[in-house]
Symmetry: C3
Subunit: 267 residues, 3 copies
C-alpha cells in the first residue's frame, strides 16, 4: 500500500498516481489532497494525526513551497513505515510519532538530465521539471521504496544517509493548575479549533466551564452536549483541548485562526 | 471491498482508512466525503441514490452530528450489504432500497476504556474519543464486519440485535393529473434541484412546459435541449422531477434550496 | 486498473464506482472529479497532462455538457490505453498524446429500454436516464472494455468503428526570437497560469526578465526563486511558460484567466 497526501487539490494527484502505477499495482490510498496549502505546521499536524493509524506503509507526502530550490528530497524510515517527501520539516512530527527517536533519514539523489516523455521508472529520478517534484521525484522514490522494501534503503544507489535535516516542532503550551496558555495548532474543515493544550487540563472539569480569552464557555464531552450554535470547549480526537461550536464553526465563534494565542482559565 | 462516505471533507477520512487497513487489505473505495454537512436528510438521499449501485459490500457511513451522545452505533444488514454508521436515520432509506422490508439492525457494543495509541483492532471497540467515532468505533466495526462476513453478525460478541431505531423518511409529494405539490429533497453540486415529485408526472409532456411556483418553464429530456443559462424542468437520474439550468445552477435560477416547497402545474 | 476523471465533484462519482464494481474488482483510481466544470478545453488539457503518466489502463472520463443529446458515447484505443467518454473532443488531445496518429475510435451502442433497478451489467448499455450517462453508459462501457481487453474491441457487439468524431485542438502560440503571442490554456488550483507558449522560448533566459502584457517580471526556474507574493514567469511541469506568484495566485497577480491572450517579450 502507498498512501498519498498533498496540498495539491485537483488534478495534480492524478499524475502522481499514474507514476506510482508505473512502479506497482499495489493499492493507492488517498489520505488528503487538501492539506492546508503551503502551510507546513498545520500540514505536519494533520499528517501526525493521520498516518500513524495506518499499518506499516509507504507514505508519499507533498507539501512543498520550496520545490525547485536546493532543499533535499528525503525518505524517512520510522517504525516500519517510510515517509517520502521534501526536507522542510513537514514529515518530522509524523516520524517522531511513528518511530520515537528511532527514525532514520535518507537523501534522494536526483539527476539533472530530464526524463524522456512520461516514463518515470528511471532510478535515481531525473529532474524533468522544477515545479512538480511530486510527479518527477517523490512518486518515483515512493515507488522505488515500495519495490525494494524499507529494510533495503541502505543498499540503494539512489538513497544516501542524511544526518542534517530541517526539523519542525509544535509550540508547547504552558499549563498550570487552573490556567493554561497556548496556541491554535490547526483548524479543521468543520471549524473546530485545535489547541496545543493537553486535554488532561480540562477532563476533570467536564460539565463545568472555562474562560477562553476572557469569555466563559461550557466544558463538554461532546459537541451535542450544548445547544446548536452554542460555543463549547471539549477534548478533540487528537487528545488536545478543542474550541468548537455545536453544528457550527468554532473558529468563527471564537474569532481564532491557526497560530493565534489562547489563554484558558478553569472556573 | 469497503466503501467510505462521510461529511468530513479533509483530512479525517485518512485516519478512517488507516484504521480499516489495520483490519483488511481489501480495496477501500471513497464514495464521497462531501455529503451535505450534518444534514441527515440530504445525506440519506445521496446514500440511497449511490450505495445500491455497488455489488454487496461493507459501507462505512459517518454523518454524525450526535457523536459522543448516547445515540447508538449500528450495523444494518440489507440485501447482502452491510451499512455501518450512527443510529440517526441516515442509513435507513438506503437500507430500505437495498433490502426492502427485509433489513436487520445490530447495535455495536463499545467499551469505555480508551484504546492504546493508534491501535484500533480491539473488539468490541474502545471509546478513545467522544468526537471521532468514525475512527474509533465505525471504522473498527466496518473492519470487523468485513472480516467475519455478514452472515456471522448474529454470532459476534460485539453486535447485538436492535429493534428500536431512528427512522428517516422523505416527505411524499401530492401528485394529481395536472398539478403536483412537493419538496426539494436535495441540490447537487451542479445546482440541479431535485424534488420528490416522481418523474412520471412529467414524462408524457416532454417538449411542453410546466409552471413551477408560478413561472412557466420548458419541460425537456436533457439539459442541453434548452439554450445555455436557460431554465428547464427534466427528470433526473434518480427518476424524480429536477429543476435545472443548462450549463448553470438550477437552485439559483429557481431561487430554491433543500427543504423548500414546490408547486408544479402542467401547461 | 480503471481510472476515473470527471467534473462531477460529489457525490456522483460514487455511483460510477458502484457500477464499475459490478463489472470488476480491479483497482479504481480517482484521477480528479474537479475538472473545470463543463469546460472541454481546460479539462482536455488536464487529461492530456495526467493520463499519459499511467501504464496502459482503461480511463473513464465524463465531462459532458451535452449529456442526453445525440452526441455519441465513444471508446478510443490509443497506445495500449482505452479512453471511454463522450464524443465532444475532451478525449482527443489525450488520444493524440498516447497514440500519436495511431488511435482508433469506437461508438458505444445504447439501447432505449431502461435498465431494471440498479443493475448495470446489461450490454450494450440501456439508457436508464438522460442526465447521468456516466453511471448508465460510460461506466458500463469502461467495465466492458476492461473485461474483454482492448484487443477485442472490434469483436464486441456493442462497439462500432467510428471515423467521424469531434476534434479539439489547443490554439498554437506564435513564437519569434524575442517575442511570443499566445493564450492562457488553463489555470491550476494554485492559480498558476499556464500558457500555450513553449518553455523553450524562455529557458535560455532564466535569471533575466520578460515583459508580460506590458509588465516586466523576473524569469525564474522555481517559484521560490523570488520573494513570497512576487510575480514570476517560469516553465511549468507541462513544459509550457507559466505565470505564477510565489506562495500566491498567478491568475490574480497577472489578472488573467483561461482563454485570455498573452504577449511576452524577452528583455
Amino acid at each position: 500500500m502507498i498512501t498519498l497526501s498533498s496540498d495539491f487539490g485537483s488534478p495534480y494527484p492524478g499524475a502522481m498516481k499514474g507514476v506510482l502505477s508505473q512502479w506497482t499495482d499495489s493499492q493507492l490510498v488517498d489520505v488528503s489532497h487538501d492539506l492546508p496549502r503551503q502551510d507546513l505546521r498545520q500540514s505536519a499536524f494533520w499528517l501526525r494525526e493521520t498516518l500513524p493509524y495506518f499499518p506499516p506503509a509507504v507514505h508519499l507526502v507533498v507539501v512543498d513551497p520550496g520545490v525547485g530550490t536546493d532543499r533535499d528530497a528525503i525518505v524517512i524510515r520510522a517504525g516500519g513505515h517510510a515517509l517520502v517527501g521534501p526536507d522542510n520539516g513537514v514529515l518530522l512530527p509524523t516520524a517522531r510519532a511513528l518511530g520515537g527517536k528511532g527514525f532514520e533519514l535518507f537523501r534522494i539523489e536526483t539527476r539533472e538530465e530530464p526524463s524522456e516523455g512520461t516514463n518515470r521508472t528511471d532510478w535515481p529520478p531525473r529532474l524533468a521539471s522544477s515545479t512538480f517534484h511530486g510527479r518527477d521525484v517523490f512518486a518515483p522514490a515512493a515507488g522505488r521504496v515500495h519495490e525494494i522494501g524499507i529494510d533495503s534503503l541502505d543498499d540503494d544507489e539512489g538513497l544516501h544517509r542524511l544526518d542534517d535535516y530541517e526539523s519542525l516542532r509544535f509550540p508547547e503550551a504552558v499549563v498550570g493548575e487552573s490556567a493554561a496558555t497556548g496556541t491554535v495548532l490547526a483548524v479543521d474543515d468543520f471549524g473546530n479549533t485545535i489547541t496545543n493544550v493537553p486535554g488532561s487540563f480540562v477532563t476533570e472539569s467536564f460539565g463545568g466551564a472555562v474562560v477562553v480569552n476572557g469569555e466563559t464557555v461550557p466544558l463538554a464531552r461532546s459537541y451535542a452536549a450544548v445547544d446548536p450554535r452554542e460555543l463549547l470547549v471539549t477534548v478533540g480526537s487528537h487528545g488536545n483541548v478543542e474550541l468548537a461550536v455545536n453544528q457550527g464553526r468554532g473558529d468563527d465563534g471564537f474569532g481564532l485562526t491557526a497560530g493565534d494565542d489562547i489563554h484558558l482559565e478553569l472556573v
